[in-house]
């Protein structure tokens, strides 16, 4: 199976449709990155809040014992 382009310049030009093709693939990239980043951020936020909640509860227990 041959490569359909003679040079790298040819490849980027996409026979005059370069802007359309590369813009589409860039948007696809953005959509993929969004999905990966969004789920990772959500996970990090959960653990941050959960740890804070845990510390608060421990402090409360401690206070109720000492007072």
């Amino acid at each position: 199976m041959p490569v359909q382009f003679d040079s790298l310049t040819d490849f980027f030009a996409m026979g005059g449709h370069g802007l359309y093709v590369w813009l589409s693939y860039a948007i696809a990239m953005l959509v993929f990155v969004y999905n990966m980043v969004a789920s990772r951020v959500k996970r990090r936020v959960f653990f941050k809040q959960a740890r804070r909640r845990l510390r608060r509860d421990l402090n409360k227990q401690h206070e109720s014992k000492t007072s």
């Binding site: 199976m1 359909q4 382009f5 359309y20 093709v21 813009l23 959960a50």
Partner: protein, 250 residues
């Protein structure tokens, strides 16, 4: 309802069991997606022959079609999960439905924008109000509606139910998208893949498309599991196993 579901279904409905299993499956889907998408993209961009009419702009198909297919499959999964949640009161089903919505919405955006970009050199217009494009836009709005409803209630269960009902009503849009190119005169070309017929394209063109579609599905599986895991933790935050997990530092 008396109908009983198989045992694995109830196991899957256990949040802890789901969390452990999904943790094992996630890397596999992630790597498969990376491999398939890399191979498919290089194949589609550099090795597939240009279209005799559209030239190289046709290479947009390798992200446009998988994005559109996934946007619809994801919707069906969301609606079925919503139904399971409503009928059998399974909490995990609502978690899946909720996590489908943003992923599906992003895929609908991908299909719509790449379609617009493809339309410009092919039809001479970014957008036309024809049946396929309009029904796809409605799909995006349905996703946004589901996301908004899920978040709209103070009570989580009420949001889940309202979102599930909207998702189910919106299923009527799916056959409209599918058959829009047959029922109405349209600029949009008919489906590339049909179950009953050979593709109208030569194999050198549809083979990379198939690889890309599989890659999109694997990515979807990974993204869905990843989101669902965090959602499960959030909803089960008071359960002993989640507290232990947090203590151990996640």
């Amino acid at each position: 309802m008396k109908f009983k579901l198989p045992l694995w279904f109830y196991q899957l409905a256990s949040p802890k069991w789901f969390y452990e299993l999904s943790g094992k499956l996630l890397p596999g889907f992630g790597w498969a997606a990376l491999l398939l998408l890399t191979v498919g993209t290089v194949w589609g961009l550099a090795f597939a022959p240009p279209d005799y009419q559209q030239g190289n702009s046709f290479r947009i198909i390798y992200i446009h079609v998988p994005g559109a297919i996934l946007a619809q499959s994801c919707y069906m999964l969301m609606a079925v999960a919503g139904l399971v949640g409503l009928v059998w009161k399974i909490k995990m089903a609502h978690v899946v439905a909720k996590c489908c919505a943003p992923i599906g919405a992003s895929m609908a955006v991908l299909a719509l924008t790449t379609g617009a970009i493809w339309g410009k050199p092919t039809w001479g217009a970014w957008w036309v109000w024809d049946a396929r494009l309009t029904s796809m836009l409605i799909l995006l709005f349905l996703y946004l509606g589901v996301i908004a409803l899920t978040e709209a209630y103070e009570n989580e269960a009420s949001g889940d139910k309202a979102a599930a009902v909207l998702a189910l009503v919106g299923v009527v849009n799916i056959p409209i998208i599918k058959y829009s190119v047959e029922w109405w005169n349209t600029l949009h070309q008919p489906a590339t893949f049909k179950l009953t017929e050979k593709p109208a394209m030569p194999p050198e063109m549809w083979q990379p498309l198939l690889v890309m579609i599989l890659g999109f599905y694997c990515f979807f599986a990974a993204a869905l599991l990843s989101r669902a895991r965090t959602e499960v933790l959030t909803r089960e935050r008071r359960a002993a196993w989640v507290v232990t997990l947090v203590e151990e530092g996640g």
